[in-house]
Symmetry: C2
Subunit: 379 residues, 2 copies
């Protein structure tokens, strides 16, 4: 009755979409956004400019950038009543579940949430990206028993988030470090959450539905949740001298070392290279040099032991130290990834809408056939 087909488990190796946004050369450890090396962007660009680049496939001129930045800043404010609703949430709720719920809820204050033409979809993406930092900061202050700090439209995306979170002026070093993290995490081909966003929008649903699904995907420990795992590991190792025995023990027990290995990269993730120098500088500046030393020692051991198998540090490895030194709590690490990736997800949603075909693969049915409905008395 059924024919047997090859199952593309995890869709490994299947090309499921075209994109003009990011290019990954996993063998040589290269990542480009619209052809520009990620290192050139992290050295020279800003998150706002990078999002413009991803959405428009070119760098903006001065007036275009200023218009885009103003549009984004105009979207910093939360919808009416949202601060009060966040204030009702259980304080022990997990920030990724909160962020997913609140981004979904933004649709309820949009008079036309289902509008999917390019202009409307992009306006919704700006709206969500603009106020997502306030959603995260507002919930974090609520659970700490602190008053909401209203967004400041004079500030950049990075500066505004740190200002709302801490209620004080962030240092320039912090803002730049955070901005670089936002640039580095903004897009990365058809990773799971981006793919989820494209799958969901392909029913011609809406930007809110697709972004909500993507946030849910990113939450998982096999995806964005991994940066939390790195920090747990660093906390478990008492000192730099304990790294060797800790890591060798894990390798011998064949346990996964968080922050290493990637389906695509068989070389050092170029984002890890950028984050490494950032993490070192921040760790020194903030009195956390031991954290960087531990990380660096882990990388040396892993290189000695596992580089021959193509296992290298990925983006999560040094982002953990970076976020820790910026002063972020552990369960805000993945929400930070989400804030940045909202830029990439939105670009992919608009790309998918521009040449849509419903994602509808097949399942191989492996159960019985022609089973009778047995009446209850005979079961």
């Amino acid at each position: 009755m059924s024919t047997t087909s090859t199952i593309a488990k995890g869709l490994d190796g299947i090309v499921a979409a075209e994109t003009e946004m990011s290019y990954i050369d996993g063998i040589n450890g290269i990542l480009e956004y619209v052809g520009i090396r990620i290192g050139d962007l992290s050295s020279n660009s800003t998150f706002e400019e990078t999002v413009f680049l991803l959405w428009n496939r070119r760098l903006p001129n001065a007036s275009e950038l200023s218009a885009f930045v103003n549009e984004l800043r105009a979207a910093y404010a939360l919808p009416e009543g949202m601060v009060e609703r966040i204030g009702q949430l259980p304080k022990d709720a997990l920030p990724m579940h909160v962020l997913r719920t609140l981004v979904s809820e933004l649709a309820l204050s949009d008079p036309n949430p289902n509008d999917n033409n390019t202009k409307a979809a992009q306006a919704k993406a700006v709206r969500i990206l603009g106020c997502a930092p306030a959603l995260v900061a507002c919930f974090d202050r609520h659970r700490r028993g602190l008053e909401f700090v209203a967004p400041d439209p004079q500030r950049s995306f990075a500066s505004n988030f740190l200002y709302m979170l801490n209620g004080s002026d962030p240092t320039e070093t912090m803002v730049r470090a955070f901005d670089i993290c936002m640039i580095l995490h903004a897009d990365h081909g058809l990773n799971n959450s981006t793919f989820a966003a494209r799958v969901i929008i392909s029913t011609l649903s809406d930007v809110y539905s697709a972004l909500t699904g993507a946030i849910g995907s990113l939450r998982g420990p096999l995806h964005g949740g991994a940066n939390e795992g790195v920090m747990h590991m660093l906390n478990e190792i008492p000192s730099v001298d304990d790294v060797e025995s800790y890591i060798m023990g894990k390798i011998q027990r064949k346990e996964k070392i968080m922050g290493f290995g990637h389906r695509i990269y068989k070389a050092k993730d170029p984002r890890a290279t950028d984050l490494q120098s950032l993490a070192r500088k921040l760790a020194e500046d903030t009195g956390n040099a031991d954290l960087y030393e531990k990380s660096s020692r882990i990388e040396q051991i892993m290189e000695r032991e596992l580089a021959h198998r193509g296992i290298y540090p990925n983006v999560d490895f040094y982002s953990a130290t970076t976020y820790f030194c910026i002063g972020l709590k552990l369960d805000l690490f993945t929400p930070m990834f989400a804030l940045s990736r909202l830029g990439g997800w939105s670009g992919h949603i608009i790309e998918q809408l521009s040449d849509n075909r419903l994602f509808r693969p097949k399942a191989q049915y492996v159960g019985p056939h022609d089973v009778p409905y047995t009446p209850m008395d005979n079961r």
Copy 2:
């Protein structure tokens, strides 16, 4: 720099997972749940028993069914404070956006929302399936300015929903019709929303994230949203005598006829066959015979004109008339689909978790390479 690969657009024909739940033979118009023909289930089973079947791959005996039913009924009640929060929502919000938001929000009152072992995942699925009808009914009454009607744990899933929605005892015919709709929509292979749920859970995220994503996918007009489209079409046709010219006009203008055609079925969807007799009976009983007559006339014309191209009625075609005769408002049609499909989605989530591999396809990059970062002054 890049190699060209074949793009599996929409993943058409790609087998992305194994399942023991439903089997579709699109050529012969057969649908089985765990080997049992859908018609046997709609004639003999209940939604509760069907969900047990899908989750356990066998029919329950009397005590197993009773235990499962009791577990589900114990989950009918909404978490503390939820009725009040729903009462704050804008009355013009769209029910699918509301349902997506509220299912996501259920995670915030779960002390361990990320627990993914089979038992925990199944308990979360019961919790969400149990109270989702109350979420829909509570919002609908709120927007109509009516008091919330608390769920009645003495009632079946179908009876309880209709009772909460209308605040009165539904007739047996209504309850049975609604129950059959729930059975027919519960699972259907790797449709887009089910696939979205499996993609999201494959990061080892959580049941809430995966179901929230699936609801977002179902909302789209190329998926669950299509049953609304059928009703719009029926409303546009003044009388049975106008059907011929209306449909022929659409065919000549090459416009899509809502409720016809399916990626998988090249025969009449067996669920449409079951729904057709249900729709006829309900339409007669409720004084909506003209609605059924219009539908039936559309099907005749479509068969005459387009059956040679494999375009037949799908599940949405007669579910529109059925839901209308039950007294549901148009924008509740897709939420009804969601209530039922929560059963299938949850089964797939548990199936995916039992043999997980991260979904991570590739994108084909089609943009430029080696683009320099041009300084602002030179753009």
